[in-house]
Assembly symmetry: C2
Homo-oligomer: 149 residues x 2
């Protein structure tokens, strides 16, 4: 049987959020949070528009998901994010006790894996879902930005 | 000459914020951000009230300071916080490029030092300012909470 709601399906939703960020002139990172195959929260990077380093896609999705659930712990939730979370976002995910993190492209320099950010023991993490699409969107953004400056 | 605006002076302001959190039934952590001997932002832990793991004192102070300054980088700013920042807050401080972090009590288990969270090269960190006062407020909070449950 074909499973319509797989990781690729939800990562596409996160990529749509990243595209919204791109159109706003923000570094294009997007995220959704899913529970029982339903998207309960969305977010995209808004650090420039909000003039706030904390306004990463994941942070907004975490806040929105807790708001939707009426509780601050994101049990049985999966975060789909187009770029490997940074220390801040991974630190927030630690507190949220989220069940699963799925990221797209790796961030070798500022991502939580190489920086050894501690995740909650209840949290599984995996990556590489639509990684090329996510990385390509980032590349296009930085090329465009360079040409504009 | 006596310097009225020293680290102890500003940490007392952070402790006042922690007391506000205490009175609201929140884990009592408070923070202020200072530039040129002026408090430009305040924050206290609101994770319970806002039902949001990201609502730490530091996160709110970072957002408020950027709002005040009209720029997301906290250059020439000092954060005073009653408890050593966690991974999330230290990660946010990394992005902010803040000049200096002064904390009160250590958090050996969940603090950024033992967890090796990367700070920005421009950021200096030191601790132990009014540490006993900050730790004592935390202890009172947890004793009270235990007795109420």
């Amino acid at each position: 049987m074909i499973e319509p709601f797989d990781d690729t399906y939800f990562m596409k939703k996160a990529l749509q959020e990243a595209e919204v960020a791109f159109e706003k002139g923000e570094i294009p990172v997007g995220a959704v949070i899913v529970v029982d195959n339903k998207v309960i929260a969305r977010g995209h990077n808004l650090t420039e528009m909000l003039c706030d380093v904390t306004a990463h896609a994941e942070m907004q999705a975490i806040t929105a998901a807790a708001n939707f659930l009426g509780g601050k712990y994101l049990k049985n939730c999966t975060l789909y994010v187009t770029l490997e979370p940074c220390q801040m976002c991974a630190g927030a995910l630690y507190w949220s006790q989220i069940s699963r993190i799925v990221y797209g492209a790796r961030d070798a320099e500022r991502g939580c894996i190489n920086l050894n950010t501690k995740l909650h023991p209840k949290t599984a993490i995996e990556g590489g879902v639509l990684a090329d699409e996510a990385a390509s969107l980032m590349k296009r953004f930085f090329i465009l930005k360079r040409n504009l400056n």
